[in-house]
Symmetry: C2
Subunit: 291 residues, 2 copies
């Protein structure tokens, strides 16, 4: 694996690899502090692409002024070791100066899909995500880009942007990976105190119950929402940011007149200072009550 | 020359040409209704690139609600004939449905450089330009893209966007072409009545006088601005939208403490319902008074 810190260096390395291998490029943009979820994206890329590129960049543009940019967990040496062992060909590790050498004047905003859920709680967050992902796509020019569905709204925002701007990249959404007790893997899980950590799996349990309720015929979104919110509230350290039931993949509110093919139940919950997100995408057409 | 109306068709044609010719792609996005100015861009591309692509698309996104989208002059048959004679390899002529199959949710805005001059008179115009140019770049994936400097602010906006988003395209600005009486070539010139047409060359004369004044030592921007505005006002049918003297290429106001390397004197003037723009980029370092 080669580790490259400059845009020019990366472009020239990839041009060489493309000439040599005549294959596709798979790409995973990450904030680093990797876990098994990231490794599953790398495995998905390895299965499809002959050149696998990973970026590690904690993007200041997607953090709000009161968010955790400065204290976001970082361990690049460990990340690079994991990436190499997983078979990544090129790790792109630019610093902030390399990515933003001059004040950023170009803003990319995706309306509708960005506005609810985390978009409402984190104003400007998805503009920052869209801009850095577009920059990285322009730098790497991958054929496929892999994203975890734990950040389902991020995936939806990027898919909308790629569609609207005709970006020549295929987005590959990948399933959320979970700890053995069901907690969705996240770099931010390291922030949790032991007691918070022991309560955090309530998110997954509540979502599983919503899925079960749906399978048992409960299709009313407000009831599903309440069920999830009530269950999460049982955890004494939980502080709900949102629990929402929306159409998927549009992330628009449900229309009472129309049954969508897919729902997403999405939650964001604080435990102390740590904000965790999770979701379940529910396929209404496959539900037995719907047949 | 091949004329292609779909994105998929264009991508596959260009993939084939790239494999065959192993050369660079030069691209000119246009609104059509071509004139000698467009042909000069094609000639610049022919000199540098082995594959030359021209697009003709009147982009609704860059016209305001009270602007001339519907009546913008169109003559695609004539355009295609001119493009073929000039040696274009592929003409891309999508319709609005092909470019915007679903409501556009992604907005691209370039701050500062978009805000003054035409950006102030035409709110949203440069957002529409930025979005369609980015879409076309993603569709064509050219090595070089050629733009006329009559639209100097458009060039500056695109260069800022390309820089900020690491778009892998080199922008090639090309000089403004003029009619024999000095009027800058523009598709909109056909709107002018004979009397308006006879007065319109005042824009170029006023800019030439500003250049001469600068060569004679007049470096005070407000004096240059007044000189141009006064001269244009002598034309009885003229109605000045703006006359501005700014730093180039940043298009920021002059800092009285700092002498920039280049100035732009930019004007927008209505003759009847037709709004014309023109500009002069003045190189202060080459001015004799400055040596």
């Amino acid at each position: 694996m080669e580790t490259i810190r400059t845009i020019q260096g990366l472009r020239s390395k990839l041009a060489g690899l493309r000439r040599e291998r005549e294959t596709t490029v798979g790409f995973m943009p990450t904030l680093g502090y990797m876990h098994e979820g990231h490794l599953s994206l790398i495995r998905a890329a390895k299965a499809q692409d002959g050149i696998v590129v990973l970026s590690i960049f904690v993007n200041p543009l997607q953090f709000g002024p009161n968010e955790d940019f400065a204290k976001y967990p970082r361990d690049t040496a460990r990340d690079l070791k994991m990436a190499e062992e997983a078979g990544v060909d090129v790790a792109f590790v630019p610093d902030v100066e390399e990515m933003y050498p001059t004040p950023m004047r170009t803003k990319v905003s995706v309306s509708e899909v960005s506005e609810r859920l985390c978009g409402a709680s984190r104003p400007g967050h998805f503009d920052g995500v869209a801009a850095v992902v577009l920059k990285l796509f322009n730098i790497v020019q991958p054929d496929h880009a892999y994203f975890g569905l734990k950040d389902a709204q991020q995936v939806a925002v990027i898919e909308q942007m790629v569609h609207d701007l005709n970006v020549p990249v295929k987005i590959v959404p990948c399933p959320t990976l979970r700890e053995s007790d069901g907690l969705a893997m996240s770099s931010r899980n390291v922030y949790l105190s032991p007691e918070e950590r022991s309560q955090a799996p309530i998110l997954n349990r509540a979502l599983a119950e919503a899925e079960e309720a749906l399978q048992n015929g409960e299709v009313r979104p407000e009831q599903l929402r309440q069920l999830v919110a009530n269950r999460i509230s049982e955890a004494s350290l939980s502080d709900i940011d949102y629990v929402e039931v929306m159409q998927y993949p549009s992330l628009t509110p449900l229309d009472p007149q129309v049954t969508p093919k897919q729902l997403i139940v999405a939650v964001a919950v604080r435990f102390g200072k740590t904000r965790l997100i999770d979701n379940r995408i529910l396929d209404l057409e496959r539900m037995p009550s719907h047949v």
